[in-house]
Amino acid sequence: MRVIAHKAAKVKNLSANQTLTLISLLVFAVAIATLACASGSFDISLWAIVQGQASALENNVFMQIRVPRVLLSGFVGASLGLSGAALQGLFRNPLADPGLIGVSAGAALGAAIVIVLGSRFGVGATLGAFLLPMAAISGAALVILLLYILTSGFGYQGVTYMLLVGIAVNALASVGIGILTYISSDSELRGLTFWTMGSFGGVTWALLVPALLLITAALLAMVPAARALDLLQLGEIEASRLGIDVGRLRYRVIFAAAVAVGASVSLSGMIGFVGLVIPHLVRIVGGVHHCYLLPGSAMAGAGLMIAADLIARTVIQPAELPVGLITSAIGSPFFLWLIFRMKKL
């Protein structure tokens, strides 16, 4: 029996430590999600809900506010964590983060265009709900493609170059958003403001379901690329000599990351540093293999994002902190530490 388990683990290419870490991360994510559903400015007894003894108000808060919010924060955390890990693998660059390199900004610009210009051209609410994630995804895809073209050929040396391109892309996107802010009406401005903060508040099932489907599809598309991403670390030419179709891998990762980040940004705004911090933490715990790193980053991203959102909405009750503030407060010192460590290498 042990032999079979050992062989199975070998086939899946996961070490015992990595399997254990993945299981712990999953348990952590589920536990924190349960806790987050129960607590808030209004504590709900989950036991009462399961038994059907909860009041109508409790049921309503639980189903219409808590569950969608926790689901959204979990999925956004998973998609940012996994996209960060996959982009770091694709660019062979430990500092690639959807926020830092401008992918989130591209998505936000796409979404902002729909919010401000959409209402002027009479785009209805139904079409808007569909257009918003599409525009965000297109914005994200455009930025990743641009980054890929601009930094290809730099290989491992492109680490700083890519961040510089990211600064330029972020600046360009904020010019675009700035212009849109300037010409927007009061109601459009309210809609725009939430991008600069990043928040999981006010989400509805109607908005949530399409985004969750898109994010799930993107996550499922990325995980099978694990071995190819490992081999890519030897360089693109070496990977193709080892039988990897690098072109197909590139488009798979770019497209999946764009869908995941775009759909996330269209609902929750820009939440910084998650894609940078999560994969590094997961690597420190269990190693650099993508067959472990990709699912691990998704689970850790989900768990930590739900936790961050729980803190955001409970720490100064009844008011609420923007969750992006919390992730950036943790992420930016971490980023500095990473740069400090690179200097020593």
Binding site: V11, Y156, S240, L242, D245
Partner: protein
């Protein structure tokens, strides 16, 4: 070029690779073939097109004209996966972005699946190759902490893992090595070349890029000299390595002791 249909060769015939910028031709009408069990060494001055030749044979770049075939199958008809099964390439190494262990890097050479059967085959292959390359003490180190010479040895082991195949397989495959002994100390240099020799004796076709003329003379079945993208000469070491020719091509006085085939140039 005529190939007997039952003869297994990698051949590159009438290939000329040109780069449009500056209209410079990197390879010009180079024709050669490597048979199973044979070691062909490529020598020549810097910039002669040796690495370009290896990259073209490996399929990294497409020649502007001419054809490359492995075992009489045109390279362009082989998928990326098929190519990985038939030839293995060891080139100058690049740094790896993340902290993979030596073990991980070597395993990346395994292109024969990850079901239970092939995993146990991999274990056999790995044990063998680690022993042959004497890298057991490196297996658990981080790849990025190794020295340049150790990097080469690990990449060589990875190339051997890629080339490994079951005993029942009729073809032994081809090994393309671009300056495999750069950065290696004397002992490891000779050890690696002896391993290459024994692989060739088992039927592997080997193409080597070398700088040391004496090493090339000793370990090759055939030698080709590239000069400015053209094939200056190809044949047995004794025929190719003449004092007059080497002096002309490398532009320093070179003398050859034809009896022991040893070359002096300083």
């Amino acid at each position: 070029m005529v190939n007997l249909s039952d003869e297994k060769t990698v051949s590159i015939s009438g290939v000329s690779l040109s780069v449009r910028i500056g209209r410079q031709s990197l390879l010009d009408n180079v024709s050669l073939n490597v048979k199973e069990g044979e070691i062909l060494s490529i020598i020549g001055p810097n910039g002669a097109g040796k690495s370009t030749l290896v990259a073209t044979l490996a399929g990294d770049m497409t020649p502007s004209n001419g054809t490359i075939s492995y075992d009489n199958r045109d390279l362009t008809e082989l998928s990326i996966q098929d190519r990985a099964m038939i030839r293995s390439v060891m080139a100058q190494s690049q740094p790896v972005a993340f902290d993979f262990s030596v073990q991980d890097i070597i395993k990346m050479g395994w292109v024969r699946g990850s079901d239970i059967e092939s995993t146990s085959r991999y274990a056999t292959a790995l044990a063998c190759i680690v022993e042959d390359c004497s890298i057991a003490h490196l297996l658990h180190r981080k790849f990025n902490t190794l020295s340049g010479g150790e990097h080469r040895r690990v990449h060589f082991a990875r190339a051997l893992v890629q080339l490994w195949r079951p005993e029942t397989c009729s073809s032994r495959g081809y090994l393309l090595l671009d300056e495999p002994v750069a950065n290696l100390d004397l002992a490891h240099e000779i050890r690696l070349l002896k391993q290459v020799r024994s692989l060739a004796d088992q039927g592997v076709g080997v193409l080597l890029v070398l700088h040391d003329l004496n090493i090339a003379a000793k370990f090759s079945d055939k030698i080709a000299i590239l000069q400015a993208g053209r094939l200056a000469c190809i044949g047995s070491p004794g025929d190719v390595l003449t004092a007059e020719r080497l002096t002309r091509i490398f532009q320093i006085p070179i003398s050859v002791d034809t009896h022991s085939l040893s070359i002096s140039y300083y």
